[in-house]
Symmetry: C2
Amino acid sequence: MIEPKRKQRKILLLVNLFSAVNDNARIIDGRSAAEEIKSSIAIEVSRMKESIGNVPGLAVILVGRGQDSLAYVRNKIMACHEVGFKFSIAELPENCTEEEVCDALSNYNKDASIHGILVQLPLPQHFDAGKILNVLSLEKDVDGFHTLNIGNLAIQGREPLFIPCTAKGCIELLLRSDVEIVGKRAVVIGRSNIVGLPTFLLLQRHHATVSIVHAYSENPEIIAREADILVAAAGVPNLVRGSWLKPGAVVLDVGINPIEDPESEHGYRLIGDVCFKEAVRIASAVTPVPGGVGPMTVAMLLLNTLEAAKRALHFP
Amino acid sequence: MIEPKRKQRKILLLVNLFSAVNDNARIIDGRSAAEEIKSSIAIEVSRMKESIGNVPGLAVILVGRGQDSLAYVRNKIMACHEVGFKFSIAELPENCTEEEVCDALSNYNKDASIHGILVQLPLPQHFDAGKILNVLSLEKDVDGFHTLNIGNLAIQGREPLFIPCTAKGCIELLLRSDVEIVGKRAVVIGRSNIVGLPTFLLLQRHHATVSIVHAYSENPEIIAREADILVAAAGVPNLVRGSWLKPGAVVLDVGINPIEDPESEHGYRLIGDVCFKEAVRIASAVTPVPGGVGPMTVAMLLLNTLEAAKRALHFP
């Protein structure tokens, strides 16, 4: 037997619940944002070529032939081609020595036609990635993983030469989507050196109140639910369910996880760290996988390389 | 008219409220912890002197004569004296040039009897602190503020040569008080390069789930109330009230704020960022001001200098 007052309250609760469930979160289209950025880079490259005869050059060092790494490198080659960059690759066998990798790096450091260098990660287990990354000339560290670049990203009042591409891509998507960042709660799930850490540092530079959730965190879903802006970068397919989201949150899904799918062409397809079909019902905006953060990462790499070339060539 | 059931509920609520209010939070005694650490450092210094004839040496560069800076430097001189370190100071006038500061630094960099160097901060406004700190030899950066040290503190899998003293002192107090850190929620209030940032990074290294609250944060008290471990480092007297605390939280108060007090000897006394008399009723443990984090900061500086000397002298 429900008293009238209680009945009214129950109805109100139901209304609130329904207003929280909105089936049409905005889909943040990273692919078209990346296309726009690449178009303006291509224009800059033409201008550079016409006025000083140079184009930006990107070099990749690839150790071994991991399937993921090969796919990522292919994307980068295509993107360089699209915008008119020079591209160079040093392919080394899985069993090469640290010295051989450092030699390849040193050659690119000296090569005036190369303005950006990146070492395709992950490196095989037996390598000291930190040592290798620090051989890389700071002025060509377009991935932004050099210790000095990370230090300068962390320290208030400093400017790193380069901001790591995925973090930069995430913020660029937020800014392009007119998402307010200042003072808002942001939660980054995952604390990798490549994505989680730099994304934390960059969100804080934009004055968000940021928390990092990781494998040791107790009650990750409760913390995630406090986020106005949620960045999922744990590498765990469908980790973030609808119940992890604050209604109206903006969700950036960095995960790119292959799962078996006999119906798709290659026997697998890519899904994110966020359960997309649940997220679109709760979030106000969400990035898809593929077609969200991924293409932006490549666009930011091109942007960093363009900046590096402009700095090296004193081209305004 | 309260129905019996509701009455019962009300009583239960009151009981919960009272169990949350406990008037005897443990007072974390930073002074005695620091004394213990200094005693063991003094033993190490004697051992070093007897076996190789050297003692650790600390040098401070002091620009201008700010009252706070003078007081801090006096503390450091006294502490060095206590444990048997050599101490050297370069005093430069407020209106000196950046070059003069860098020259003083370079001299200490070359001086084999000096193993740790610190530049007393803050520097006068017209200085580029970052540029100056990076002149400092990485092996003598006992404050841990060099960009490479901060970068290596931020990046997982790396080991910085030195951890900034206040952050290190905070964690040391937690460990000595048997506070569980792994997986717990930690909130750092304040994001200074000197305290907030390194404390965040160090808590994360110990696998806490960390958030940073700062001047732009919306609803700081709500975020603070989520913390199992709260570090207050905003430099705002009595900012953190009892209502900002989760019952049973552990509270580290880094603030050292002078406030007028005609009844005390010098016309002022020092208070923290945390309203102590409210905190002791809600927290399970809390550091006092003075006598909490402050003495630990100095002890950690001595510890870093001892480590630097051992490394330089290859003394095990």
